[in-house]
Symmetry: C2
Subunit: 363 residues, 2 copies
């Protein structure tokens, strides 16, 4: 195992797309989504372990979730949990983590992973990460993983490939021509048929040195903030420096800040059964179904005239349901959601309504 | 207040028609059904108090529920709670209670009431009970209350009226021509239009002496069992006598055992906004609705595109529901039911399925 290889798991996210299963105090990455006994964060850590060991894995999270991370990943030393004092999207997170790791090992290369995705074929994932490491370690390169699309999905950003990367013999490595926002249905179909567009997975590889250089060139404000602490990373002063600095960083994604601007961005196309689990529909699509086409997480369920529905009921609760077609039934703690699957885009609004009418305890 | 007047509240029932709100360990009569702070049993006791005081009110229940009754009716002396050692329908219950009260007061007259009905106009109810007492105290008469029907309900038994009772000047008192079972829809419409048929409310008045006489004449087996304890009612030996005797009594309703056979049965027709709350539909029909025609018990509810539905969610839970028309959503403890209102007749089967598949803890 190459001892200069590090992993950053981004674990600070909070979302309402799986309310009431996920909560502000217990976001999606901390949930045992498939009833397997392992949370999405644990699955992410398990998945990378053969490539990067826990001692070189860093989890960046919001301070609010520090104890959850420590509890779910007991193999992680406490200094490997970096606590953001504020929510600032992925760019400041990645910049800090790169500085932190660079201070430990100036020759470090890093794979950066979201903590809440699903990957079905983990061997192929690890193989791709190893190949990615080799590629970025050979030069000053920023690499993103592009997922071979399997449907005209309108919920993902797409990356358009350019020429083959001459820098490598890997036939799945390309220069990036463009990043695009989430397309509409028509555009998504054109993307899919063209064969030129790949789903933006949010997984990246680079040397610590390369990404810090890119920050200085393309995101000088963020770079300057974090460069000011150059001598304190990986020292006892790091926490108070970050507490003062981090909240001043512009809230921006790494895609906007760096990837869409840099001229040394490459994409490795991969196919390993990926989903960002960004919606109930995505969970439905990636979950095994019963003979009526229903998905049940781990509940005791009796259905009659139900089809195409997803039942996500926590605990040992019995659910008796009749006459539901294409519904979400999600029950957790002090909240119950019953909603057609095709209305889930309204969920954020519903959750906001719950918060404003009934208070924060319910979201 | 006539000090020979007693009340028997029958409180031993257990049903599955409001599962999962009602449970084997917490039947319907013990629930605060309307979120008013009073359970159906408490509402029953409150309602009769001005006619019969607590010291002359006896609650007959199953031993399993004795502590629930004591808790919900703290005004009741413990000797006023009669505990059945087994479930034997209404006939043995009424026979025992009559003996018990007769031993206290041989001149007693008794109103017998179910513990789980709804009555909207309680003043009219009390007026009818007072008139009923007067009627049965004048002679050897068995009186049942017949509800003026407001719809061709197929869930109730009907009583056909005969001639006016010459024995009284009360124009609402009649001889009974016949008792009928629950009719089908066509027959129920004929009943309703005829003006001759009234809903069997299960509320009765008689002197203790009269009903005991009727038992001896029409239900001699039951009568003999309970007459054998003639000297022990209202003594410390009553409990062990009942524990031995009660389980031997035939399980039969008072209608079958006595009312359909006796020749001194009268009906008083009444209209006081009555429902037996025998189904979710009955609860829906008797509950106030929001502007979309939804009934919510006491839950924090946000609906969208929902109509004609009833939401019965216990505790302080938030419910967000969309796209439900004419549904029951009932959530309580370890069970959740989502089912079209017009399928509620299948509920008993569903509850049996839950019991056999997941165990008694869920029913």
């Amino acid at each position: 195992m190459n001892s200069h290889r590090y992993c950053v798991i981004m674990c600070g996210g909070v979302g309402s797309r799986f309310w009431p299963l996920s909560r502000t105090e217990m976001p999606k990455q901390f949930l045992d989504f498939f009833g397997t006994g392992r949370t999405l964060l644990q699955m992410t850590a398990d998945r990378i372990r053969d490539v990067v060991p826990p001692e070189r894995t860093v989890v960046v999270t919001n301070r609010q979730y520090a104890s959850l991370v420590a509890e779910q990943l007991p193999e992680l030393a406490s200094e490997n949990i970096l606590c953001e004092p504020a929510r600032r999207n992925t760019s400041p997170c990645i910049c800090w983590a790169a500085h932190h790791i660079h201070a430990i090992d100036p020759e470090a290369s890093i794979v950066t992973l979201p903590s809440d995705h699903l990957i079905l074929r983990e061997d192929e994932f690890r193989e791709a990460i190893r190949e990615g490491f080799e590629f970025v370690e050979e030069g000053d390169r920023l690499l993103t993983l592009g997922i071979v699309p399997t449907s005209p999905h309108t919920g993902y950003g797409y990356i358009q490939l350019g020429e083959c990367a001459e820098e490598s013999s890997d036939s799945k490595l390309f220069k990036v021509k463009s990043f695009t926002e989430k397309p509409d249905e028509t555009m998504a179909r054109i993307f899919l048929e063209s064969g030129e567009f790949f789903w933006n997975s949010g997984m990246f590889l680079w040397k610590a040195d390369s990404i810090l250089k890119a920050f200085r060139k393309y995101a000088p404000e963020t770079a300057a903030l974090f460069d000011a602490g150059d001598t304190i990373y990986n020292t006892p002063e790091e926490i108070s420096f970050i507490d003062n600095t981090f909240p001043c960083a512009p809230s921006i994604s790494i895609d906007y800040a760096i990837m869409e601007k840099a001229d040394n961005v490459f994409m490795k196309t991969v196919e390993f059964g990926w989903s960002d689990l960004g919606s109930w529909k995505a969970l439905y699509d990636t979950s095994p179904r019963d003979t009526s086409g229903n998905v049940t997480r781990n509940s005791r369920l009796l259905t009659r005239n139900c089809s195409g529905s997803i039942f996500a009921v926590s605990g040992d609760k019995v659910v008796v349901a009749s006459g539901l077609e294409n519904f979400i039934v999600a029950d957790n703690g002090n909240a119950l959601l019953i909603c057609p699957l095709d209305e889930e885009q309204r969920l954020r609004q519903m959750v906001n309504d719950v918060k404003s009418r009934f208070g924060e305890d319910f979201v």
